[in-house]
Symmetry: C2
Subunit: 253 residues, 2 copies
Amino acid sequence: MPASRTADDRNAPQRCQSCVLRQTGICSALTAEQVTRLSRVSHHRTFEPGEVILRSDDKPMFWAGVVTGVVKLTKLLVDGRQQIVDLLFPSDFVGRPFSKQTPYFAEAAVRTELCCFRIADFEKMLSDNPDMKQHLFEHTLNKLDTAHDWMVLLGRKTAEERVASLLYLLVTRARLAQSLDSKDACVPSFELHLKREEMASFLGLTYETVIRQIKALDSQGIITINSRREFSVSNLETLRLAAAWVRAEDLTI
Amino acid sequence: MPASRTADDRNAPQRCQSCVLRQTGICSALTAEQVTRLSRVSHHRTFEPGEVILRSDDKPMFWAGVVTGVVKLTKLLVDGRQQIVDLLFPSDFVGRPFSKQTPYFAEAAVRTELCCFRIADFEKMLSDNPDMKQHLFEHTLNKLDTAHDWMVLLGRKTAEERVASLLYLLVTRARLAQSLDSKDACVPSFELHLKREEMASFLGLTYETVIRQIKALDSQGIITINSRREFSVSNLETLRLAAAWVRAEDLTI
DNA sequence: CGTTCGCTTGAGCCTTTTCAACCACTGTGG
DNA sequence: CCACAGTGGTTGAAAAGGCTCAAGCGAACG
């Protein structure tokens, strides 16, 4: 699946040092020299919106970290019903280690840049770097925690709470990403990376219901609809309450 | 939380060699001698049905493997709504490593025997035994996969499919456990370890709906109700179809 | 022998889905 | 330049699946 090395890949050693994975992701466990060594077996690849990154049941050929963009992980039922089971943001990982089969479809939601490793290189990398393995282990444990939180949403929350939960998650994500770039503390407005249909698929609803609940949140003044893909949130705490979110710490997706 | 060492614990070295955890669980990664050494810092503890094992948000004091019984992991919303996010069976683990807070309530569903370690001993054990850590890592990855499967159930399946899914999961579990003891290939009838209410909480339904769907499965001949807590399944494949389960391999809970 | 807990059943209601139509925007080709 | 198709988004009306509420049953247990 990964294309051959691009011209860009030959700049890898420099590029790697400023990568998001280096700063907060898996490469933060490495020394500068180790990163340089690693950069020789990694290569970047860009996926367009809707492009499939990994196919369910396929033998995994590569493993990757998300550098920019958003990846959705979806599962299908035999009759075509589908559910997004996770959204991946920069510093998250795509691929199922230690398995003969990929358990989901990974698809780019927006234009997405991945840092890819061949499976063999990746597994060697892990056994060579216990700290890296530890990082990935803890990341997996966090993912399990947030999956459990999402199960509460899917099992028990109302449609309005679900939509509020997703918007809260996305606005928090946006703040997080922004505070890394600039020191701007508040994000009044944020852009939606997802279609209504994708929101619905992640929330266990239909897209019509999502539309109606977004409108309901707007008419209650909890959010303001700027355009189809952009919203403002004046009071984050109000949104959190509307989401029936248990604790802020739960928000690690 | 763990009680002081019992008389039983002094027999630990012998007991450990025949334990489920030794055969298929985390201790399978150890030599007999390592197990003996480990048995000195472990101790067993029994929990009665409904007894709380770990409390959400508490600092984790111990970590344990399930030897016998069933443990349910539940999450609560502020207003009291609750969702069971996982069921643990023998050879599963209770406790969240590498975290300051337990992310859920762990409660015994039936009489349950745990093999407990103090957190400090446990973390030392992991760093001393890379194979053990690897085992736990892969176990966590499996748990994540099954959590994703359950998200599909909660987000997309009908009430009948949900109930069928749970029964299929439990009957498969029962077969698995039985084939370890005897070589009996088929389990026509199996006992339910859960109350209707617990089934509902795991399935994102109300218990009335669970009751009605069990009845519906019975009247379609997919299962037979022997008693309130015991069912028979003549054709496992029919049940699997009713459950809209994607693949048999998904069933690792 | 009464109480409690778990389970069952029924009736009506409500949230969400389904179905269908329509709108807004974008890119394409005549 | 405009007709056209295609995609994503919006709205309304009707249907339905599952929930709520209420009552009753049965086994276990003190």
